[in-house]
Amino acid sequence: MLTGFLTQAKAIAKAMGAKNIALAEYPGIVNMDSKEELHRKVADVVVKNIVAGFTNQVQETVKSIEPSPRDIVFRGSLDEVQEHFYKNAWTDGLPVIPPTLKRVNDFLKFTARDPGEIIGTLLPENREATVWNVAVNGVMAGCRPEYMPILLAAVEAIAAPEFHIQDGGASPGWEPLIILNGPIIKQLAFNYETGVMRVGRQANTSIGRFLKLYMMNIAGLRIPPGLADKATIGSGFNVVLPENEDVIVELGWESFSMSRGFNRSDNVVTVQSVVYETAPMATGGVTAVEHLEILAEVIGGNMAPWTHVALNWGKFYPLVVISPGVARFLAKESITKNDVKRYLYDHTKVSVKSMENLAHAGGLTSFNVNKLAAEGIAPKAYAESVDPDRLVPVFLRPEWIGVVVSGDSGRSRCRGYVQNHEQGMPVSKKVVLPPDWEQMIPFKPI
């Protein structure tokens, strides 16, 4: 266990009920050590720790007593509540709306599900995600009660095994992104035009904040003094990204959720990881291919430094957000979303040598493209020769590239969002509305 990860290991061991499991420290950052230094550290430190771990008797752990879900854990003024929650690491550093019983019950009116229903358990802290604590954290994040169906769908997504919530504190520092489709976008006044992906609209912002807060409180993914978030350099939470469905229908394109198997009329939440975003490139030209060339060069090119990571795990689901102006221009030449994906796949390349250098520097010291192809993890196209300077696709499969139409209708910019291999795989869940939904929504959309 590298020094930098000892506290995380202890936190996870405690959460798994094995608080006193033996950990053998490797001091320092192994990637920076020479072969001689590595061997010296193994001989002088690691092996001593291993022997101690095998031979020293350990104490049994006693599970600590915690509140029950409906317990009142504190009484006080607004300021006192903030202090108490901050001291207990129950916030994201911003003020929270005090989760009183009345406020939580107001949220529960927007679901027919039993408040005690267990949606899943979230590693690494291994706590139960329930309908009840979704409502509690929704209150805290400043959501409106009518957002509850979306909150539930988002938590179902991150609780799905294929999402890999347990890797939410990984070194690259990825953040979840909610992509939203369906009539609910307009019903709840989400922003999907100018300034999309910015804070400012309550629906986009508070729901984005909720998901991150939920991952902190239930999955335990907290920065120091918390122990499980190991992002080297992190980033802030992502607001919700709704698709512009008017433009999608106008162009006869399939929506993002339709590409994931849903009907156009379904309300769908998709959650996936974003590890970094590309330049917000303006595209131009009088032909569609001129726009696509820029997309490939800049957005595809910006994603190339992550291909080695994707290839190592055989998964890569990047997202490209196209503004309506660009989408309309492409559609004039009968270009579809699938055509965009295919163009990006065919025209964006990276050298094997670059990938292997980046992989080894980042700790993937066994990474070898030809070996991955031989094991069936990398597609055969990656191992057509042994020339390290050969160019191979940045994207593993064209159908794995997501395309969402959103943003300022009057501009021609696009932006890419790089997803982190099997960590934060895209998971889509239908939003289930309560029976009297239309009557319950308190106001009409802007």
Partner: protein, 103 residues
């Protein structure tokens, strides 16, 4: 007029884990079988052989089942690999496990 007094609910969830009873320690590793489990990162391919070499100096009669026998616990098939571990460790007669490299 005083400020409102808020009575607030616990925001966390119940812990799903139960306490794990750790096995008794091994006072002498001579004659014991130690299995290696790897996540194939952070120079495990150098660290594991170095660990074997150094442990053999202390315990000449120690036996190792190398990590290549068990698959990658942080790779494409990690869920299947981890699920198979209890039976495979038993198959190989493991008295103890070194799992690495954590990071």
């Amino acid at each position: 007029m005083g400020e409102t007094d808020y009575q607030v609910i616990w925001p966390l969830g119940k812990l799903a884990s139960r306490n794990v009873t750790l096995q008794s320690r091994i006072p002498d590793l001579n004659g014991k079988t130690i299995c290696e489990i790897s996540d194939y990162i952070f120079r495990g391919e150098e660290i594991f052989p170095a660990v074997r070499e150094e442990l053999r100096k202390i315990y000449p009669d120690i036996k190792f089942i190398e990590y290549t026998h068990f698959g990658n616990i942080h790779g494409v098939d990690e869920a299947d690999v981890i699920r198979s571990l209890p039976s495979r460790l038993k198959e190989h007669g493991c008295d103890g496990v070194i799992s690495g490299v954590g990071g």
